[in-house]
């Protein structure tokens, strides 16, 4: 029932859809083993988040691997259409801006985007419900500001390259 939301949440967090599906699957396997879960959605997001945290070390290795692969791919890549470049650049900037957030801010925001309410976010992240608003407002402001900063420096780079 929450599979699509959970996979999207994890994809946005991890930057890789296949990996996200693996973690989501593992989360549901664990859910099946549980006899009683009070709030299913909060529980699923909390467990998935913990699995991601456990994989933090692997993440480092994967990132290095990813960077290497991306480099290889860039060398082999045929010039894609303009719109594809534009979208890929936007995705890359979004990734950078999201990565710049503090983990708690990032997770709260990603959960909110999947429709979790403040109580569910508080439960999943072990926050007090009263602090969720502050966390989200900080996360949103920082995300937008760092994205805009990236956009601005890109525009300047392009201007310099053109002149």
């Amino acid at each position: 029932m929450y599979n699509a939301a959970l996979v999207r949440y994890l994809t946005r967090r991890l930057g890789d859809r296949d990996w996200a599906e693996e973690v989501a699957q593992e989360t549901f396997v664990r859910a099946l083993r549980q006899t009683s879960i009070q709030n299913e959605r909060a529980w699923l997001f909390a467990v998935a988040t913990n699995l991601v945290r456990d994989e933090a070390r692997k993440d480092m290795r994967r990132r290095k691997h990813l960077a290497l692969l991306a480099e290889q791919e860039r060398d082999e890549m045929v010039e894609p259409e303009e719109t594809t470049i534009e979208r890929a650049q936007e995705a890359a900037m979004a990734r950078k801006a999201v990565d710049a957030l503090a983990e708690r801010d990032r997770l709260a925001l990603l959960m909110r985007e999947e429709g979790l309410d403040y109580n569910e976010i508080a439960e999943a992240l072990e926050l007090s419900p009263g602090s969720v608003g502050t966390t989200l407002s900080r996360a949103r402001r920082r995300l937008v500001e760092s994205y805009e900063a990236l956009q601005k420096s890109r525009e300047e780079r392009e201007k310099n390259a053109a002149s």
């Binding site: 999207r8 994809t11 946005r12 930057g15 890789d16 859809r17 296949d18 990996w19 693996e22 994967r62 691997h65 990813l66 692969l69 991306a70 791919e73 979208r87 890929a88 936007e90 995705a91 900037m93 979004a94 990734r95 801006a97 999201v98 925001l109 990603l110 909110r112 985007e113 309410d117 403040y118 602090s131 969720v132 608003g133 502050t134 966390t135 989200l136 407002s137 900080r138 996360a139 949103r140 402001r141 995300l143 937008v144 994205y147």
Partner: protein, 114 residues
């Protein structure tokens, strides 16, 4: 009522406040241009953040392999090795048999001549 803090504004816009609290915030925003501006800004951040997160979904799929491919010996190598082994064993048997027959032949020739 004092000015609204950013967290409260976001809570309000996200519909996370109780009815009483929401009513109080609404009344204040109506009378306070400063907080009304802060609400407008917060709406912009909410929409902007949402749009940025959606851009993440454009990330290419399958950039990272699910599992690193294991280094395996190519099956053709095994097949070649097996063939060589069979051929070598066969040759050995044939040679040994040939040797024994020659020996037998020599032995019987010796017997016959004596």
């Amino acid at each position: 009522m004092q000015h609204l803090d950013e967290g409260t504004i976001h809570s309000w816009l996200d519909g996370a406040l109780s009815a009483d609290e929401a009513a109080r915030v609404e009344a204040h925003v109506k009378e306070c241009p400063q907080c009304a501006a802060a609400v407008a800004e917060a709406r912009g951040f909410i929409a902007g953040a949402s749009r940025i997160l959606t851009a993440l979904d454009n990330a290419p799929r399958g950039v990272i392999p699910v599992a690193a491919p294991k280094k395996r010996v190519d099956p053709i190598v095994w097949r070649v090795a097996a063939t060589l082994l069979v051929v070598a064993a066969g040759t050995l048997v044939v040679f040994r048999n040939a040797g024994r027959e020659a020996q037998i032949a020599t032995t019987s020739a010796d017997t016959a001549s004596s």
